[in-house]
């Protein structure tokens, strides 16, 4: 037989064979209900993600783990200006960051492998605001943790999920609510899973920065000290730490109790209209990422979580008011509900 290198030389520069011998460092992370077994050759990565070590954070039972194998290669160059690039086919998803840094997600085997530069290995922001949220978003459904495009706030252990079309103002309203008696769990993506085998749900966030579009500066003077920058999806936005900028309370988990669908209206006022759970369920199903047929279990899990999320107190909130006034109305509504 031919040796592998000979078959593809001279167009290959690097071979990386993953195994315990090259990835001797290990840690177990808990990420919004996803149990992640990290193996690497980099102490810097362990330091960057120590915030997520599972002994610290998630108190609820979780399903099968995701294996995350990351090899740091000092010969890899980092391109700090490179945009993330994603593609997927069947059960495989690829994410590249520049030319040389790559991650591959195997959704069937719940395994993620990647090679990165030393500079990226020690970039805490890369891990905590990019790669780990991406991993939970891509892999979560395969282990019973469903990403929902909704904000989540908590009041006294009761979760308020805020859904709505893109541009409805979910993030802006979330910040306005977090300036009242609510704690911020997430302003954008909330990860929902079952609490063990019970019928109750846990909603989790990943403590990523709040993302606000440039016009949010009209509502929050605190943003005047910042400049919008290009975010992961290419949008120009403020990405700020809510605890520092708005002095908001932040929580990592809550239990979904209310679900509102935010709609902007030109008319003044703020109306709360009961929303048929079937319509709410259809909204989430219609806006969910298409999943490949190789993952029927993931699709079924997602549908079941959506059914459970939408089976409770669902309302449409039509508001023509500023975010702070809408937040005040929701605050009063939740007090009485």
């Amino acid at each position: 037989m031919l040796p592998f290198r000979a078959t593809v030389n001279p167009v290959v520069t690097r071979f990386h064979k993953f195994g315990p011998d090259v990835l001797p460092l290990h840690a177990e992370l808990s990420l919004a209900g996803v149990r992640c077994l990290l193996s690497t050759n980099s102490k810097e990565i362990l330091s960057c993600v120590s915030h997520w070590f599972s002994t610290v954070r998630y108190p609820y039972p979780t399903g099968q783990p995701v294996n995350l194998d990351v090899l740091v290669d000092s010969s890899i160059n980092r391109d700090p200006s490179a945009k993330a690039h994603f593609r997927g086919l069947r059960h495989l998803v690829f994410a590249t960051f520049g030319i040389e840094e790559v991650f591959a997600f195997d959704l069937l085997r719940r395994r993620v492998v990647g090679t990165i530069s030393a500079a990226t290995a020690s970039d805490s922001s890369f891990w905590n605001t990019r790669l780990l949220p991406i991993m939970v978003g891509v892999m979560g459904t395969t282990v019973g943790v469903v990403p929902l495009h909704s904000a989540c706030l908590d009041r006294d252990g009761k979760g308020l999920l805020i859904a709505g079309l893109s541009g409805a103002g979910k993030s802006t309203l979330s910040v306005a609510l977090a300036q009242r008696e609510f704690s911020l769990v997430s302003d954008d993506w909330t990860y929902v899973s079952r609490d063990g085998n019970t019928d109750s749900l846990i909603a989790s966030g990943l403590s990523v920065p709040v993302k606000l579009l440039p016009d949010a500066v009209e509502h929050f003077a605190e943003l005047k000290a910042f400049t919008p920058k290009q975010s992961l999806n290419g949008e120009l936005a403020f990405e700020v730490d809510a605890t520092k900028v708005f002095r908001s309370q932040v929580k990592s988990i809550s239990r979904p109790h209310w679900l509102i669908f935010l709609e902007r209206d030109n008319r003044p006022g703020c109306d709360f209209i009961p929303y048929d759970p079937e319509d709410a369920r259809a909204f989430y199903e219609r806006s969910a990422e298409l999943l490949p047929e190789e993952l029927p279990g993931a699709a079924a899990t997602r549908s079941e979580i959506i059914r459970m999320v939408t089976s409770g107190n669902c309302f449409r909130v039509r508001s023509g008011e500023l975010p702070q006034r809408t937040a005040e109305a929701i605050d009063h509504f939740c007090n009485g509900a």
Partner: protein, 145 residues
């Protein structure tokens, strides 16, 4: 003339392009094996041998390739980095060419950017796809060799 739909694919619920159409399907010869190939660009099949059989329904292909021309990805392929992790092999040539090989399922899945021309494909991309396939077919020894 190669069949190729140059229209960039876009679907709001398929940002990963998983469901980009691949309407061209063929049984082709790869060395002495028969492989089944799906693609949206027939020019990606040119290095493969034509397989002519009147009894294709009885053929059990040794391997399955899905090659997608990714029309709106710019740039040329970089020299490849190969990741080998259990049953998965990944070839990264930058956004212009990303390929994954599933050894158990005998599948090769690849995206090839819109600016990868026939020479790039023949000289850089196809040798990598072929090498991965030979390895998966057990015709080569491991990467340490």
């Amino acid at each position: 003339m190669p069949l190729y739909d140059h229209t960039p694919y876009s679907h709001p619920l398929d940002v990963l392009r998983r469901f980009m159409p691949s309407p061209l399907k063929a049984l082709l010869r790869f060395e002495e094996e028969i492989i089944f190939v799906e693609t949206n660009d027939s020019s990606l099949l040119l290095p493969l041998g034509y397989f002519n059989s009147e009894t294709t329904s009885a053929i059990s292909p040794a391997f399955h390739w899905k090659l997608l021309r990714d029309a709106d990805v710019r740039g040329k392929p970089a020299r490849a980095t190969i990741l080998m992790a259990g049953g998965l092999l990944v070839a990264n040539m930058g956004p212009a060419c990303l390929a994954g090989m599933d050894l158990e399922r005998k599948e090769l899945l690849a995206f090839i950017g819109g600016e990868v021309d026939p020479q790039d494909y023949q000289n850089y991309v196809f040798p990598v796809l072929s090498g991965l396939t030979r390895f998966a077919m057990g015709k080569v020894v491991g990467a340490n060799a």
